[in-house]
């Protein structure tokens, strides 16, 4: 502690202190805004699905039910925290925290618009994949520590599902890495802007398809919500959780959805940029701030999440595995092969 303090107090290190201060402020802003988005993602989901299902959705709390997410949060916060008698207590406490922290940490490497990123890591993409794998520990441990059969089955399902689809998702992004020549998310976006099509979704349509399917499985959403399939496993791995611990899983899941949507926007849809051929055609669009484009892309994919949830039934466990290993991974490998060959051909190596 002393050494850090001395470094900060020492003359000439005022820039260092300032840098730390700026990062802290950035973190606070990003977390606050991200959690607000998460809260309203639940509201958005309830409204969207309600209207797809001839219902109205939340209406009671505030105008158009706009304060519903806060009411839900307050309710969950004040609920009784029930811990099963036979639960493995330390793990039971820890697992929602692991899940939530893994989701929040991923926010650090996301560039929301040009130059705004907490940690401009040169391995940003790998870091995101690593964090989403770490989140699976939260799920598996919660299933294990609850000491309930339904949670246990849900945790096991989650383990195999996340591992299988992690591979497919990682492989689907390799094509993007080859094209951009970087793992830094900001660089990937800049590479897309420099590319003739402006977005990687057109040359990387195979990778895009694999990524979208894997993103559904990775965030445990329909049609791949097997770890929490309520008609089979009651609520899956978080069956025994209540109150704010449950809320942490809930927030983690929606943060995960936002991160997957952001990753999709950054890697395939050009992040905060729009393709040049559009701005050449309609010049005033280039005056729109980058964050607007970014959020539009993110929420378009969030809407797609909800839309799919309102439309499709759930796959069975073995079918999910078959899709992952027999369809998605071969497709991703083919995509890598083609992308690599084309890149080598362009560079004149072949």
């Amino acid at each position: 502690m002393n050494t850090i303090l001395e470094t900060i107090i020492a003359p000439g290190s005022i820039d260092f202190a300032l840098a730390i201060g700026i990062i802290l402020v950035k973190i606070a802003v990003v977390i606050a805004i991200a959690l607000l988005h998460v809260a309203y993602a639940t509201y958005f989901e309830r409204k969207v699905i309600a209207h797809m299902q001839v219902r109205l959705g939340p209406r009671e709390v505030g105008p158009y039910g706009l304060f519903q997410p806060f009411a839900d949060g307050i309710k969950l916060f004040f609920k009784e925290d029930i811990i099963p008698a036979k639960a493995d207590k330390p793990l039971f406490y820890l697992s929602p925290v692991i899940f939530f922290i893994a989701a929040l940490t991923s926010l650090a490497v996301l560039p929301f618009f040009d130059g705004f990123v907490i940690a401009d890591l040169n391995i940003g993409l790998l870091f995101l994949l690593a964090m989403s794998s770490l989140g699976a520990y939260g799920i598996i441990l919660s299933g294990w520590s609850s000491n309930s059969k339904f949670s246990f089955l849900g945790g096991l399902r989650a383990a195999s599902q996340v591992i299988s689809y992690e591979i497919a998702m990682g492989l689907s992004l390799v094509g993007v890495m080859i094209m951009a020549g970087s793992l830094n998310l900001s660089d990937i976006v800049r590479a897309q802007h420099a590319y003739p099509t402006g977005v990687f979704v057109i040359p990387q349509f195979l990778g895009f398809f694999v990524f979208v399917v894997a993103a559904f499985a990775e965030t445990n959403r329909l049609p791949f919500d097997l770890p929490e399939a309520e008609s089979e496993l009651v609520a899956g791995y978080f069956t025994e959780y209540s109150g704010f611990r449950f809320a942490l899983f809930f927030l983690g899941e929606y943060t995960g959805m936002l991160i997957m949507s952001s990753l999709l926007a950054l890697c395939f849809l050009g992040g905060w940029t729009i393709p040049r051929f559009i701005t050449d055609f309609i010049p005033f669009l280039s005056a729109v701030p980058g964050i607007v484009w970014f959020l539009m892309k993110v929420y378009a994919f969030m809407f797609f999440y909800y839309w799919v949830r309102a439309t499709l039934p759930r796959y069975r466990y073995d079918q999910l595995m078959a899709i992952g290993w027999k369809l998605l991974i071969p497709l991703a490998l083919i995509n890598i092969l083609i992308t690599g060959l084309v890149k080598a051909w362009i560079k004149g190596l072949l």
Partner: protein
């Protein structure tokens, strides 16, 4: 060292014993299944029933035939109208009376409405169990219309007790017929909506085709009836084989499946909904004029307005309700086609106003017994599909 070739011998494995129910989101009431799981594979499945036992058969023996009618509402509470129709038909056969033609047509209409409302609940919950939420809410919208129509007809929505021994409680109003006809014309479009979401859906087919297969021969041997039997390709339908009410006067098809899997049972029931709609439409168009209660003073309750005005009728009512009619000794078994299958009422009369024995042959009970046959060696997710596809209601199963 000898275990190196068989690493599974180095540790002990046990089957996971999971208690599915009686409180579980997918057991449609209070069904309890004990599942022995090897991983996700169901090794053994044992249904436990009886959590909703109310002794309806015994209660029926302590009431006169008139007073026991509301008990039949509580059998399969999703389609109480069909149970009522089955009950009154059985009692009428025992009494040796027949309802007037108009009453028979009205009963056919309301029974088919009951079938629609039950099949709608089945469709919604079955699809919901497989994970699709939207058809459930669409289905509830149509069920609401049917329940509203029941309310117009007799004031009750769920436990209706509308048919009476010897006819029906009251005649239908023009408003009821108009609104029902409007619904009937609109319903095929609604069906198209559900089917767009489900029938050709690839995930739906992956989840149901080839799941819970039961051959025609086995299905007959297990005593399956209704859509569960017809899904295996046996065209048995009480309405066709032993027509009651106005079923011999209307034209309808009996949809049958081929493979006896969940998907075929789904197709059969969806087809039945369209046929029910056809039956209602024909009945409204052909509805004859006339009385709605048989003129059999010894066996039917007198009209209520006359009871309030006239001494003779009051005495009749009093005697029939308290002592019951004097029925000839004998026994009778009459079955009817309810949404779940063949519902049979078996009465033994000892000459008094109350049945000596009332026995209910409940299709849900038989169908619950076939669950182990369908589920064993399948996956745990298929158990849910199978519970949905046999369409059981525990109120009827436990009685």
């Amino acid at each position: 060292m000898e275990n190196i070739e068989h690493p599974e011998n180095t540790f002990e494995t046990r089957e996971l014993n999971v208690n599915l129910g009686p409180q579980h989101p997918a057991t449609h009431g209070v069904l309890r299944l004990m599942l022995d799981l090897d991983g996700e594979v169901v090794k053994r499945c044992t249904p436990y029933v009886g959590y909703l036992h109310r002794g309806i058969e015994k209660l029926g023996e302590h009431r006169t035939y008139f007073a026991a009618l509301p008990l039949s509402d509580r059998l399969d509470y999703i389609s109480s109208m069909n149970n009522n129709v089955g009950y009154v038909n059985a009692v009428e056969k025992l009494f040796g009376i027949e309802a007037p033609e108009r009453a028979q047509f009205i009963r056919t209409i309301v029974a088919e409405m009951g079938r629609l409302s039950s099949h709608i609940v089945w469709l919604g919950t079955h699809v919901l169990d497989i994970g699709a939420t939207t058809p459930f809410l669409y289905a509830m919208r149509e069920r609401e219309t049917i329940l509203d129509l029941f309310e117009i007809l007799c004031g009750a929505r769920l436990t209706v007790s509308y048919p009476r021994i010897g006819g029906v409680r009251n005649d239908v109003t023009q408003e009821f017929l108009d609104r029902l006809y409007e619904f009937v014309l609109d319903f095929p479009k609604r069906m198209d909506e559900y089917e767009t979401l489900v029938t050709q859906n690839r995930i739906w087919k992956d989840r149901t085709v080839g799941i819970g297969v039961i051959s025609a021969e086995e299905a007959v041997n297990w005593g399956l009836t209704g859509g569960t039997l017809r899904g295996s390709g046996v065209p048995y339908d009480v309405r066709k084989f032993f027509p009651y009410d106005a079923y011999d006067k209307v034209d309808f098809d009996v949809p049958i499946g081929k493979n006896g899997d969940c998907y075929d049972r789904y197709i059969v029931r969806v087809g039945e909904m369209r046929q029910s709609n056809r039956i209602i439409q024909q009945c409204i168009e052909k509805l004859p004029k006339g009385p709605v209660m048989a003129e059999e003073a010894k066996f039917t309750l007198p009209p209520k307005d006359m009871v309030l005005k006239d001494m003779e009728h009051l005495i009749h009512q009093f005697v029939l309700i308290t002592k019951g009619p004097s029925v000839a000794e004998g026994e009778v078994y009459v079955s009817s086609e309810v949404p779940k299958g063949e519902l049979g009422f078996y009465f033994v009369s000892d000459g008094t106003g109350k049945p000596y024995r009332m026995r209910v042959r409940a299709p849900s009970f038989v169908h619950a017994s076939v669950l182990p046959r369908l589920c064993e060696d399948g996956l745990i997710a298929d158990v849910i599909a199978n519970i949905g596809t046999i369409d059981i209601v525990l109120g009827e199963c436990d009685r």
